[in-house]
């Protein structure tokens, strides 16, 4: 009975072993192969009969031959079910002397003929290739990648990660990931890491939080991190893809400031519109009623009363003009368009438009040399109009007015000039003349609102240029301004 059941169990065992997908080799305590299954024949290229009776070292590359019998005997002394060669890479040798990577599980098998070792062998060539491919992909990725195992130890980093964090590979591998995280986040990060592993899924890290990485030099950098769980032979790992967003943050900041500035400008414009509207209304009422008073009560008003009413009307009108001037100034360049412009033509047209003023003053205007440039055409026209009308307005009564318009162009900019032989400006006033509503002369002498030169300066500023004046009292003035020489 017992013998028959013994035969029966042996047959069952043999069937199981033969149908196993792994190569299975039974080795006795002399290290001799007692049995090899069909998969073993396929894997190693030997016939079964060639193997049985040989020492197991026939399946192992020669370089391990010296040490292997020792390992083998140690196992026989304390047999247990375990993986072989923990932490080492294992290789097997085919009949044709080629090597291949393997993984081996060891099982002690107690039989009537003594203890045998059942070695279950898996060819891991494909997995190794896949690992290698993975490594290559990770290494060629354009962003830093860090592979972390379940207990938070770094097991792989790519070149970009070395660059980003400033560590060498061997300084990172085997260390906990928290070395790459600023100290204040470390404790929390361990919890985040564990919670990710309990529900691993591909997702960006730290949604809604600002993330920072810590470099070897202890500098913190803003980063964005994508997390990918990866199934590996060593269990689930997390591949963290890290992007340095320092530059992007800077740009975002710049854009934010730009937007804020635009909003401020818009607010200022709105303010000016509203202020001009609200300021104009009472002014209009003043001048309207001054007019009504003059018209409706002409018969009853005496000369003095008429003078007062007239003064009210004039003051209201002047303030109306000042508010308009302020509005114009603040809206200057609002719809500016950069156009390639023949500046000589522009100036000649401007002079033609001002023919009445020019002729009645007997002014002579000489345009020496002006280039073609990219400019804000409408605004530049206004600038020349202001400068020419100033030159005419502040001419010397006793000398014919002569205005010379010239320029010097270099690679990066064009310096234009408008010179006159007028009354000149005392150098102590050079700053004041460019300020809004600043006037050097009484209104009886020269009409004006103190807005012309501020407008000019603003127009030059719109172009990104500079404006200044050279003059002395009584010696004429030359206004200079620069316009960048844009070639678009």
């Amino acid at each position: 009975m017992s013998n028959r059941s013994g035969i029966h169990s042996e047959l069952t065992f043999q069937m199981i072993v033969e149908s196993a997908p792994n190569a299975i080799v039974l080795v006795n305590n002399d290290g001799k192969i007692a049995y090899a299954n069909n998969q073993t024949e396929k894997l190693f290229g030997y016939g079964r009969s060639e193997l049985i009776g040989q020492t197991v070292e026939v399946l192992i590359p020669p370089r391990y031959h010296e040490r292997h019998p020792g390992f083998r005997q140690m196992f026989f002394h304390a047999p247990s079910v375990r993986a072989m060669g923990a932490g080492r890479e294992l290789f097997a040798l085919r009949k044709d002397r080629t090597e291949f990577p393997i993984e081996i599980g060891l099982n002690p098998l107690v039989t009537t003929g003594g203890t045998l070792i059942l070695a279950s062998i898996i060819d891991i060539t494909e997995r190794k290739k896949a690992d290698e491919r993975f490594r290559l992909v990770v290494n060629s990725a354009p962003n830093a990648m860090v592979l972390v195992n379940q207990i938070g130890k770094i097991s792989l980093v790519n070149n970009e990660a070395k660059k980003l964090f400033g560590y060498e590979e061997n300084e990172m591998i085997g260390n906990t990931l928290e070395m790459l995280i600023p100290a204040r986040y470390r404790t929390a990060h361990v919890d985040f890491r564990n919670s990710f592993l309990s529900r691993p899924q591909t997702r960006p890290m730290g949604i809604g939080r600002e993330l920072f990485a810590l470099r070897k030099d202890q500098k913190e950098i803003p980063v964005e991190i994508g997390l990918n769980p990866i199934e590996t032979a060593d269990g689930i790992m997390v591949l963290a893809s890290v992007i340095d967003i320092t530059e992007r943050k800077k740009q975002e900041e710049a854009i934010k400031r730009q937007v804020e500035l635009e909003i401020k400008n818009r607010e200022l414009e709105d303010f000016v519109y509203i202020a001009s509207h609200d300021l104009q209304e009472p002014l209009r009422t003043m001048s309207n009623f001054a007019q009504a008073l003059e018209e409706d009560y002409a018969a009853t008003l005496d000369d003095n009363a008429r003078k007062y009413v007239d003064a009210i009307g004039k003051a209201a009108t002047r303030m109306h003009s000042l508010v308009r001037a302020l509005l114009d100034f603040s809206l200057l360049g609002r719809n500016k368009k950069l156009v390639h412009t023949d500046c000589r033509k522009l100036v000649e047209e401007t002079i033609a438009d001002m023919a009445d003023t020019v002729n009645s003053a007997g002014a002579v205007i000489t345009v020496v040399d002006l280039p073609s440039l990219y400019v804000y055409e409408t605004e530049l026209r206004r600038l020349f109009q202001n400068l020419i009308s100033n030159a005419i307005k502040f001419r010397k009564k006793e000398v014919p007015c002569h205005i010379v318009i010239d320029s010097q162009t270099t690679d990066d900019k064009c310096r234009m000039s408008v010179s006159d032989n007028g009354i000149g400006i005392d150098p102590k006033h050079f700053d004041r003349i460019f300020q809004i509503f600043q006037r050097l002369h009484s209104r009886d002498l020269y009409e004006g609102y103190g807005i012309g030169l501020p407008n000019c300066k603003k127009i030059v500023g719109l172009h990104g240029g500079e404006m200044w004046v050279e003059s002395a009292a009584g010696a004429g003035s030359t206004f200079y301004f620069t316009i960048p020489n844009l070639q678009q």
Binding site: H277, Q280, T285, E295
Partner: protein
């Protein structure tokens, strides 16, 4: 001699402006009657009552843009919604220097023109000549 309209309506929340505009219209005899109202609501009520009673409305409305409660644009919308007979000419009258208002006025088919306050004799003469020109010789 200025051509005379029957009725001009002023819609402006500023009574001083209404006073002055009414004065310049009547003084120069541009219209026989001026209806000066200080809100869009009042103007709509007036028009509804007029037309309900089978009476005619104003031939010309001067409409201020910036009014509290119902501004000029809202008044125009209401006028459109009520489907009242339209006055021949509606002119936006404002102090607004906002170019957006001018653009908007250009896009409104109900607005005939856009003028800056205050109304003067010359401006009124020109408006009436431009917009009521076709009856000048017959009327």
């Amino acid at each position: 001699m200025n051509r005379r309209l029957n009725c001009i309506m002023l819609v402006d929340d500023n009574p001083d402006d209404n006073f002055f505009h009414e004065r310049v219209i009547l003084k120069n005899q541009f219209a026989g009657k001026v209806i000066a109202l200080t809100s869009g609501y009042q103007a709509l009520e007036y028009l509804k009552t007029q037309y309900a009673g089978g009476m005619t409305g104003p031939e010309l409305i001067f409409l201020d843009i910036n009014m509290p409660g119902m501004n000029g644009w809202e008044f125009l919308n209401e006028l459109r919604n009520l489907q009242l007979p339209r006055p021949a000419v509606i002119i936006m009258l404002t102090t607004s220097e906002n170019p957006l208002d001018k653009e908007r006025a250009a896009g409104e088919n109900i607005i005939t023109d856009f003028r800056t306050k205050p109304l003067s004799e010359a401006m009124l003469a020109e408006i009436i000549e431009t917009h009521f020109d076709n009856d000048r010789h017959t009327g």
